[in-house]
Symmetry: C2
Subunit: 420 residues, 2 copies
Amino acid sequence: MIVEIINTGNELLLGRVLNSHQQWLCRQFADRGYVVTRQIAVADSAAAIQTAVRESLGRADLVITTGGLGPTSDDLTRDAIAQLLGKSLREDATVLAQIEKFFAARNRPMPASTRSEAQVPEGATVLPNYFGTAPGLAMEVPSGKFREANRSSWLVMLPGPPRELRPMFLEFALPLIQRAFPITDAFVCRTFRTTGIGESTVQEMIESAMQPLVSAGLELGYCARPGQVDVRCVACGATAVEQIAAAEKLLRERLGESIYARDDESMEEEIIRALTERKQTLALAESCTGGCIAHRLTNVPGASAVLLGGFVTYSNQMKQQAIGVQSQTLAEHGAVSEPVAREMAEGARRVTGADYAISVTGIAEPTGGSLDKPVGTVFIALAGSNGTEVWKRVNAWDRETFKEVTTQQALNFLRIALAR
Amino acid sequence: MIVEIINTGNELLLGRVLNSHQQWLCRQFADRGYVVTRQIAVADSAAAIQTAVRESLGRADLVITTGGLGPTSDDLTRDAIAQLLGKSLREDATVLAQIEKFFAARNRPMPASTRSEAQVPEGATVLPNYFGTAPGLAMEVPSGKFREANRSSWLVMLPGPPRELRPMFLEFALPLIQRAFPITDAFVCRTFRTTGIGESTVQEMIESAMQPLVSAGLELGYCARPGQVDVRCVACGATAVEQIAAAEKLLRERLGESIYARDDESMEEEIIRALTERKQTLALAESCTGGCIAHRLTNVPGASAVLLGGFVTYSNQMKQQAIGVQSQTLAEHGAVSEPVAREMAEGARRVTGADYAISVTGIAEPTGGSLDKPVGTVFIALAGSNGTEVWKRVNAWDRETFKEVTTQQALNFLRIALAR
């Protein structure tokens, strides 16, 4: 089955926003056994949209478009596609009533331009929008129109805002797609996330062991990012589940503790889960990561039960006042040093009464480095009931990547400690 | 001029990663007066890559590919394209020496598979990779091969990792592109970022005033996200700069304080800049945003000079101990209340001696709401030398969006206060 996604929007081609629809939609399809074959982004121009849709309808069983259904002057998708398919538009009374209700519920007057969202091409199925005003649209394009005879296609138009697109896709588009294209073959995709080793090394550690599975049809892929390498296994057919299980067993044997998560599991979820199970608590003292560790941990529901609190101790004064770092230690060793990291973690643990405390002190880009301690130098400490461990790393990245990589390392030290 | 970008990678079509190359490359082109016409993502298969490259070379003056140049088994782009163009590959001694040097400098053995990265198609220009091992490649594809006569194309292959792709593009690919395709026409794209008003309302506030400029060729676009609407103006030709200046004047008259930034300026940069200018300092007391405000502010170089520190006071105990919230206030009003927000901000300001302090206390998804204070309820306080102001908002979003929107609101209150 051939699935193509067409994202419309000048903001995409001008590089003003990230295309989060691509990842989200591709992921939804993959998790249900459909693989997107191609994704295309084109500008908000009727000609560009029509060319892309015509080409995709000539190849694909299912074409999804995103964006261009709203009320503003650059929303052209609905009209352009109706014209391409030779369909007239009519105002749908039910859709109009829903739009009026949306504004009434918010005590806001309905802008006149919004009325255009109630225009529906003849024969199209309306996909309701519970989180906005523009409905989605779905229609079957008969065989012979753009493709060879006996091969019809489905065309589904979704609105641009993610908060509207996502629930609409899951609740209304997906059931329609699953009815039109039932999946018979099993398909499993699993990503193993590793940290601490490079891409070539990961490959060398697993390649020969994985060879028999690859020969039997397992697809193996790698994706390297700062501080992590993902290993992706895809299997199809009757033995897909067994193949993935065998792959996981081998990968865990070879890569051990370097694997920190599967698929969308995150390090922070694993940590909150482990602390909750052990009924233990955590405190943070962050200097150079500036709240990034706290931010990631508090993204996890339930974090409030185990994370007692955090200190963003940017200034030396705050290091001393809030968590009791000694002025002598700061004077002797400097704020970025092993002893200060140690006192920060121990101080945060003491002040909050937490079971564990993590501290981070380092030098982020652009300034502050020296010959001894170049930009990127960081000390990470973990204090617990068995004492305090301190690690030194040099994360020579730009400022934001430095924060990200350092946060990942700090969380990883805690994850490994909690797994013991 | 027609520019197309082809991103290769199964991880894109399986929805495992965001395609950050698209935004970054499109943005680099737009800033220099080139507009990307189409972006395509295809899987790591020789057939899919060859089909997409052949189609793009049939249309475009410049085709950029990303990914598939590395050492692992799913890196197929170089071989697939050499085959498509009928070019043989040869090992390039200079490239091989650079790769060997890369590993030697890191005291790591060179994995055997890495040697494949030194293969260069005949006639290709090598684009050095200073941040990794796989070089980029550029070549002119003669007219008549995929396009009509008299229209040759350029093909540029870039590696997948952003940290390698970005400096290579700026340092080596871009000068080559600018030599091959000199820009004569002015092109200006400017995005105005607004917060606090909806998309339709923004359009109603500016539409009629902007009409004369739009009739004269200005392109106007909108992009809505939680808590913000971007207004994008694009102008071409000799009067582009004047057109954009006139548009900015009108937008500022109509939208006033709602415009918080232009282009890539962020609210946090504006705040750090204003505090630095005024030689004033800031402290934070975050409950439900869990460090997100601190994280965003500390992404800005120079934050350490004005941000004295932050408290992530998830527990009531920490609210009391660290920043002196009264136990009676907590008991009487609850942790999510106007008086607690006030005491948090005033306490953080007092403890750190900062000129300003922001506090946030609220209820993030999934649990903790009540009839009086539904999930999403949040109190934001700003304490300064003129007293303390508190705002109440109901941000009924999922947990991560709630943190993001609340952070944006808190920063916006501070931004407006600093602008007065």
